[in-house]
């Protein structure tokens, strides 16, 4: 850790965020520094996806390229795993290359994708259609597509939601090994404490509005400190979701 604070990649300061008239989050002031590993936590409906979308839009405005792994994975079910991953770099190839790649992949591209697929455990599935895959396998394809984009910054909306904790930990390590900076929405708080440097917790305050309730370094934090982000299910959950 250097003493002087590096200049932030992004400073997102907005008094409200939402879809149309519906306000999801209020009073945002978030700085994103290079090299940070940020875990976004919060009950479902707390606004994690909304915040990620906003970060992504703001980064795009500043021409900061970011790998993006959306919650609904945005895969094309009829295409093969290889082609779905290749789509991560459509903007970097010529039209002709993209067209021919559908008919006959180039060995160089095929190898590059295979190299990514090996550690993800989906190298044997590259010719399969995505619609034939299980939920966990699809999630790996979506991660592979994000990795294939080859950017320094990774934004992920619950990219490890449908795999077991051990695999989730491996996938996060892989994502971190390939990206200097990452912002990842999670719902496993243990992962947040072991693999991330900073936690942003979202939730509703007494006024019923969504806010950033927590924005701290993970050093010394225990899972118990995060409990308040997940209010007891029976009384509050239903109102939170709505």
């Amino acid at each position: 850790m250097t003493q002087e604070t590096p200049s932030p990649l992004l400073h997102l300061s907005q008094d409200h965020l939402g879809h149309g008239a519906e306000v999801v989050l209020r009073d945002l002031d978030i700085r994103l520094l290079p090299g940070e590993r940020i875990a976004l936590l919060g009950a479902s409906g707390a606004g994690k996806s909304t915040l990620l979308e906003a970060l992504r839009a703001a980064l795009q405005q500043r021409d900061v390229a970011a790998a993006w792994c959306p919650q609904r994975q945005g895969l094309v079910p009829q295409l093969s795993v290889y082609h779905n991953i290749f789509m991560g770099r459509l903007d970097q190839h010529s039209r002709l290359t993209n067209l021919l790649n559908l008919l006959r992949p180039k060995p160089a591209h095929w190898q590059a994708v295979a190299t990514l697929c090996e550690p993800l455990g989906i190298a044997g599935l590259m010719e399969r259609s995505v619609e034939a895959l299980s939920g966990g396998q699809r999630q790996r394809v979506a991660i592979a597509r994000a990795l294939y984009q080859g950017h320094d910054l990774f934004l992920g909306d619950e990219p490890v939601a449908s795999v077991d904790p051990h695999q989730a930990s491996q996938l996060i390590q892989l994502i971190h090994a390939r990206h200097a900076t990452s912002v990842v929405a999670l719902h496993q708080r243990e992962l947040a404490l072991t693999h991330f440097t900073r936690v942003i917790g979202l939730g509703k305050q007494a006024d019923g509005q969504g806010h950033v309730l927590l924005d701290v370094a993970t050093d010394g934090l225990t899972p118990g400190d995060l409990d308040f982000l997940y209010p007891a299910a029976a009384t509050r959950e239903s109102s939170d979701v709505s």
Partner: protein
């Protein structure tokens, strides 16, 4: 993760050869490529000559007629219009009512599939020609000619829609749920929109069929259209075409689901005339007229003495030379299918909101409306007048009409797709990787469904003088040789069923699960 290419297995180092690719997309690619290659190989065997002397002058006269229509010269356009709508509406409605219960057992009953394939395989016009001998020029002929093949089509298509539903809600039902309850609670709610939109589309086809019924003498728009065209009164023909285009174009308004029941009941008033059916004549027709004479007079003695066999052979020797007709039918069917594929692939992107711009969307939509609204028989008729009698006008008409129908449905499907926010930047890439893979299975399913329709349409093009099987059917009816006409109809049906089963085998199967892939 430090995978070194030299340590990789061959499978990872090299992509699969194109003919070995196994993904669904690759299979469709092989299918489409195969069709187009077959088309290119077979084109030299087709008679595609242009024989007319001055096609451009005739085209000019037709376009002048279309540009300066003379609605005042028409005899009773309103009555023809109302009859056209009434036949289509009641024909489709009765067809759907009969087809829906059949769809529930369709995939389980081989017999039902066979019967439906047989009924569907005969074009509405030939049903009309056949029924005409019994019911005369009456509403019964018109309604039955539409209802019979449509019921069989609805049974097949509804069954296919049900087949493609996501299976999870069905499996979640209690084991003991009856077929009817499964349908009402799980299948119908999921399938309703697709079934309703298909029925609506079919009604539009019904309107076209209803117009065509005029070609055999029923007093719909087509009756006046045909005589105006044949006698070169192009201004009147133009007026009738415009009436028909307006009818189809305004369908969203007058075809609203609240208006249609009112229209259906009101149109009953005009539906007619109803025939006097003589049971003895009907029985004579069914039991005697349509069968080869040796078969009708057959007895046990004639069977054992071989008299029946020789009689049938002699009867068969009077049939026209069928091999060229069958060859032409199949050839035209294949050329029409491949041509439709090319036309559809070219036109749907231009008409979709993700790929086309506003100008291309509007102009392509206009072209698609023109091509799919004009009945293929009329399209072929016009092209025939321009190019002379060969396979060329028939091929163009089939490819343009069916290609436009497929392109329209594909564009609509594409417009319903919500592209993910992470979609590729360029329109070309969007089309290639996001839209095409999603649209193509539906497109091929439609195309292979249309392949059967196309084969069926090659038959009615015979009425224009293209020597397909339909040509011989038409002339047999003309000479009142019902036994020969019926035998040829059965032969045509068998040919269609063969093509249908081939198309069914090639049709992309498997539900398209979009659950994690929607956005």
């Amino acid at each position: 993760m430090s995978a070194d290419p030299s340590t990789m297995t061959a499978e990872l180092r090299h992509p699969p050869r194109w003919w070995q690719a196994r993904s669904d997309g690759a299979r469709l690619l092989h299918l489409g490529g195969g069709l187009v290659i077959a088309m290119l190989v077979l084109v030299p065997f087709a008679d595609l000559s242009v024989t007319s002397r001055d096609p451009w002058q005739e085209l000019g006269r037709m376009l002048t007629g279309l540009a300066s229509p003379a609605p005042g010269a028409l005899e009773s356009p309103l009555h023809a219009l109302i009859l056209t709508i009434a036949f289509a509406l009641w024909g489709t409605l009765l067809g759907a009512l009969i087809g829906l219960p059949l769809a529930l057992v369709y995939s389980r009953s081989r017999l039902l599939r066979g019967i439906c394939a047989g009924l569907r395989a005969v074009h509405e016009l030939f049903w009309a020609l056949l029924l005409l001998q019994v019911f005369g020029l009456s509403a019964a002929t018109a309604l039955a000619a539409i209802t019979i093949p449509y019921a069989a089509t609805f049974a097949k298509v509804y069954a296919e829609i049900l087949e493609q539903l996501p299976q999870a809600p069905l499996k979640a039902l209690p084991w003991a749920s009856s077929r009817a309850m499964r349908f009402v609670y799980a299948e119908l709610p999921m399938a309703w929109r697709r079934m309703a939109s298909y029925t609506r589309y079919r009604f539009e086809c019904g309107l076209r069929a209803s117009v065509l019924l005029g070609f055999v003498g029923l007093p719909t728009l087509g009756f006046y259209l045909e005589s105006a065209f044949r006698e070169g009164r192009y201004a009147e023909a133009g007026a009738l075409l415009w009436i028909f285009y307006l009818l189809i174009a305004t369908l969203p308004w007058w075809g609203h689901r609240r208006v249609l029941p009112v229209l259906a009941i009101a149109s009953l008033w005009w539906l007619g005339p109803w025939p006097d059916i003589s049971p003895t004549l009907l029985w004579r027709f069914i039991s005697h007229d349509i069968w080869p004479a040796p078969l009708v007079n057959a007895s046990f003695e004639s069977l054992t003495s071989g008299e029946l066999a020789t009689g049938l052979l002699q009867w068969a020797s009077h049939l026209p030379d069928l091999l060229p007709a069958i060859g032409n039918t199949l050839l035209l069917g294949l050329l029409g299918t491949a041509g439709s594929l090319l036309i559809a692939m070219l036109l749907w992107p231009l008409a979709s909101r993700h790929v086309g711009n506003r100008l291309s969307q509007h102009s392509t939509n206009g072209l698609l409306i023109f091509l799919r609204t004009t009945p293929e028989l009329i399209l072929a008729f016009i092209l025939l007048l321009l190019l002379g009698p060969s396979l060329l006008p028939a091929w163009l008409a089939l490819a343009l009409h069916n290609g436009a129908i497929i392109a329209f449905l594909c564009a609509r499907h594409a417009n319903q797709i919500q592209l993910p926010p992470s979609r590729p930047q360029g329109k070309f890439e969007c089309w290639l990787y996001e839209l095409n893979p999603r649209v193509a299975p539906g497109m091929f399913a439609l195309l292979l469904y249309r392949a059967e329709t196309i084969i069926r349409e090659t038959a009615i093009l015979g009425m224009l003088g293209v020597v397909t099987l339909g040509f011989h059917i038409d002339s047999s009816f003309e000479y009142l040789m019902f036994d020969q006409a019926f035998a040829l109809l059965v032969l045509t049906a068998i040919l269609n069923i063969g093509v249908d089963s081939l198309a069914r085998r090639l049709r992309p199967s498997g539900e398209i699960s979009e659950d994690s892939c929607v956005r």
